[in-house]
């Protein structure tokens, strides 16, 4: 590497590209695999960055900055664009003043997502150009190009990242920094007030713009033909291009850096120049469908899987199965699924819920892991904020058409994290109160957006830069929404929490329990030098109470024949528990459950 080259992830390169493009304002909501974009962009002092409470807010902030003449960036994961779709579709009409780039980071394979929607479809539906880089170096260049296109065509530009671009590291070269535009207020109602009479005019402009955009797609350098052997020709975009190059380095390739709109003339000319044309793309047959609509003969999804990620082995097997080599078979092993951390405050809540006969309407975050055994205490999880509203819908169905004479208020509990509550749970709670729900909502306030790796939020008391910020009073907000029954609990006190949860569930009106304890991964929690708990094994009766917490620090040693007696335990005792002090984060939940004084805090 020379001194201008750096080893960077796709997300770091994206941030560098935005910096070099002189982006002035960036807003977004964390979500894998997009999170590190803003985390890196905030390191450049010239750029104003913020975490928004949700993606719709983030995109609207970026639109505002663009209206003020600044280059703006909105970042989100694929499902976040569903939340931001409302402003996106109309921003396609208003166009931009300062360049506007919207990042959608898709997650094929659902490494950390609830669905694997293909957001290239948004470019088609919203009539917007979309760029799709293949690796970190391209990502940086495409972002800069995105801003030039945005201003040239007066349009927001979508850039689609995927997990294997965002979270791949490669060599990236630093470039020149563009001059920064001066922001100002300029009124331009025909372009920025989208009431019907004006919107109809902009609607016509959108079609003119797409026609111009299609011409640009024919000549833009990122739509490039790499002519090789003409026996096989491939059309691909994004990371799929790299898999094709890996497996068929000799073949001809049309690489589409701009995956929408498509260059029809270029595609037809390429198709004519090769014997057989293959479309290799992850997820939907997006390119294939539109290329076939041009009347071009090609093969795509009849060979290449339409679900999950691709890789070079899958591409090889799909296109040239005769060249695939046999691999060793996998060996059957106990699985190692993700688990809540030792000392996680969520565990205390889910342990209690697992012992109550309620339907748990869950939400998106670390606490979704409450679904896994041994807690198995989550019965639904759909999208951000849906815990509150799904619980309300169930309650109303039970009230309206459930079994006669049976109580309804104690049947359904919803569980939501602090960040998810602020993202899209608040309006749901407002609805529940307004429409007389009798459900119970548990807000798991761990003082941070934990799942995506510790991002600040409107309740954490800090900005994205770590500066002090106004912190939301969650209980006060619930009161303002009209909730009359509110409790705050320390989830590490497991039996105490149980009593309060029971009281809340027994309540015949909407009730809220705020479970408040910081995430153990917070830097201040890691720094506090925890005093661990340990097992006084002579007192352990093998009741298994602590084991049922499912804490990674606690393990069970089974006794063999005669072993219990030999070690001085009751003959019938099946085994003993042990705490691994290296893993223990000293939450004390196990100690609060142990009735036999077998778990004790180690005093320093």
């Amino acid at each position: 590497m020379n001194k201008n080259q750096f080893w960077m992830s796709g997300n770091e390169a994206l941030a560098l590209g935005a910096f070099e493009a002189a982006v002035s304002v960036a807003s977004g909501y964390p979500g894998t695999p997009s999170t590190e974009i803003l985390e890196n962009l905030v390191k450049y002092d010239e750029v104003y960055c913020e975490w928004a409470p949700n993606e719709k807010v983030g995109l609207e902030v970026a639109i505002g900055a663009s209206f003020a003449g600044s280059r703006a960036l909105a970042t989100m994961k694929h499902v976040g664009l569903n939340v931001a779709a409302d402003p996106l579709f109309t921003a396609a009409y208003t166009g931009v003043r300062g360049g506007l780039v919207v990042i959608t980071a898709d997650d094929p394979e659902m490494h950390s997502s609830q669905n694997e929607q293909d957001n290239r479809n948004y470019a088609f539906a919203a009539k917007l150009p979309m760029l799709e880089p293949s690796d970190p170096a391209e990502t940086k260049e495409f972002i800069k190009l995105g801003y030039r296109l945005s201003e040239e065509l007066d349009t927001p530009v979508l850039v689609r990242m995927t997990t294997r671009v965002s979270h791949v590291k490669g060599i990236v070269e630093k470039g020149e920094i563009a001059p920064r535009a001066v922001a100002s207020v300029v009124k331009n109602a025909p372009k920025q007030v989208m009431l019907p009479a004006l919107a109809r005019k902009r609607r016509a402009y959108v079609e003119e713009r797409m026609a111009k955009n299609r011409e640009i797609a024919e000549t833009i350098e990122i739509n490039r033909v790499e002519m090789g052997d003409t026996k096989r020709g491939f059309i691909c975009s994004g990371v799929s291009y790299l898999y094709v190059k890996e497996v068929f380095p000799e073949a001809s390739v049309l690489k589409l850096g701009m995956c929408w709109p498509l260059p029809e003339k270029k595609i037809k000319a390429f198709a004519d120049s090769v014997d057989e044309l293959f479309i290799v793309e992850e997820l939907d047959p997006f390119l294939e469908t539109h290329i076939k609509a041009m009347g071009v003969t090609c093969k795509g999804k009849e060979l290449v899987p339409d679900q999950g990620e691709l890789n070079s082995a899958i591409v090889r097997r799909s296109i040239a199965p005769e060249t695939a080599e046999k691999c060793f078979d996998a060996s059957a092993l106990p699985p190692r699924p993700p688990n809540m951390c030792a000392g996680c405050p969520h565990r205390g809540i889910f342990f209690n819920l697992s012992r109550m006969n309620v339907f748990v309407s869950g939400d998106i975050g670390c606490y979704t892991l409450g679904f896994l055994p041994p807690l198995s205490a989550m019965d639904s999880c759909v999208c951000m904020g849906a815990s509150v509203t799904i619980a309300h819908g169930m309650i109303k169905a039970l009230e309206n058409a459930g079994a006669q004479g049976e109580p309804v208020h104690n049947k359904v509990v919803s569980v939501i994290g602090d960040s998810t509550f602020m993202h899209s749970g608040i309006t749901g709670l407002l609805n529940s109160v307004y429409n007389g729900s009798s459900a119970t909502l548990i807000i798991l306030d761990n003082r941070i957006t934990a799942m995506t790796g510790q991002q600040q939020n409107p309740a954490s008391g800090k900005s994205i830069k770590g500066d002090p910020a106004t912190s939301l009073d969650i209980e006060g907000l619930c009161r303002a929404l009209g909730v009359k029954h509110i409790w705050t609990v320390n989830p590490h006190e497991v039996p105490e929490t149980r009593k309060i949860l029971k009281e809340a569930i027994d309540c015949e009106e909407m009730s809220v329990v705020v479970s408040r304890a910081p995430c153990v991964l917070l830097p201040e929690m890691k720094e506090r030098k925890p005093v661990s708990y340990y097992t006084r094994q002579e007192n352990c009766v093998g009741c298994g109470s602590c084991i049922r917490l499912g804490c990674p620090a606690i393990s069970w040693t089974k006794f063999g024949e005669g072993e219990a007696e030999a070690q001085g335990y009751k003959k019938t005792q099946k085994g003993v528990s042990k705490i691994d002090e290296n893993i223990c984060n000293s939450c004390g939940q196990c100690a609060s459950l142990c009735k036999f004084d077998a778990i004790t805090r180690k005093e320093a």
């Binding site: 590497m1 080893w7 992830s9 894998t32 695999p33 590190e36 490494h111 950390s112 690796d135 294997r164 979270h167 791949v168 590291k169 490669g170 060599i171 990371v239 790299l242 898999y243 190059k245 890996e246 890789n311 070079s312 082995a313 090889r316 080599e325 046999k326 691999c327 060793f328 078979d329 996998a330 060996s331 092993l333 106990p334 699985p335 190692r336 699924p337 993700p338 688990n339 809540m340 951390c341 670390c366 979704t368 892991l369 896994l372 055994p373 041994p374 799942m451 995506t452 790796g453 084991i547 049922r548 499912g550 990674p552 606690i554 393990s555 069970w556 040693t557 089974k558 085994g575 290296n582």
Partner: protein
């Protein structure tokens, strides 16, 4: 000296796999290779199985290693050495930290940790290099340096000189942890 290669890092979330793979990547880059590395973040990191894939050569396209093409595997836990068997081939070398971390089903007593698990690799003809990295990390003075001990062992199978790694460690590890990590690297490097 190998002109290209594929290194798989496997272990359990929280073992410092990402830092280990970063050190190796920087050392390869310093030696003039092109490289790409793939990681997965988010939910997978919460105590579950974690991998990082590092590829190097004159020019690297795909960021993912093809099954059957791993040359070197760094396994930070015994079971995690065997979980990716389809990624290996007969000539693969697997460096294993002989530590056992119990997955939930083993910790709660419902299944046993598989015995003699590394036999599943040796019986295929794969070279296994077992290392008690936990003991060496303790000897270095910080159990969290298991990852850097492992990098030290791995360095014996890559063409770069010790000084390249030492420089990378100095550049990428916080000052107060620098010496202990350099010691951990040296202890790993000297494993024969």
């Amino acid at each position: 000296m190998e002109k290209s290669g594929n290194i798989l890092f496997s272990g359990v979330g929280g073992q410092g796999i990402l830092l280990a793979s970063e050190i190796v990547a920087y050392a390869l880059l310093d030696a003039g290779f092109d490289a790409k590395k793939s990681e997965v973040h988010g939910m997978a990191q919460r105590g579950g199985s974690v991998t990082a894939e590092l590829r190097y050569g004159k020019k690297v396209y795909s960021p993912l290693i093809e099954p059957g093409k791993v040359d070197l595997q760094m396994a930070f836990e015994m079971m995690e050495a065997v979980r990716y068997l389809p990624m290996l081939h007969k000539g693969s070398r697997v460096i294993v930290n002989t530590q056992k971390l119990l997955p939930p089903s083993v910790a709660n007593g419902s299944v046993e940790y598989p015995e003699n698990i590394l036999d599943k690799l040796t019986e295929k003809g794969i070279t296994v290099i077992p290392v008690d990295a936990f003991a060496l990390a303790s000897e270095a003075g910080e159990i969290k340096t298991v990852n850097v001990v492992m990098v030290g062992v791995l360095s014996n199978f890559l063409p770069m000189a010790t000084s390249v790694y030492e420089e990378v460690i100095r550049a990428h590890v916080k000052e107060r942890f620098r010496d202990v990590n350099l010691k951990a690297f040296a202890l790993g490097r000297n494993v024969s």
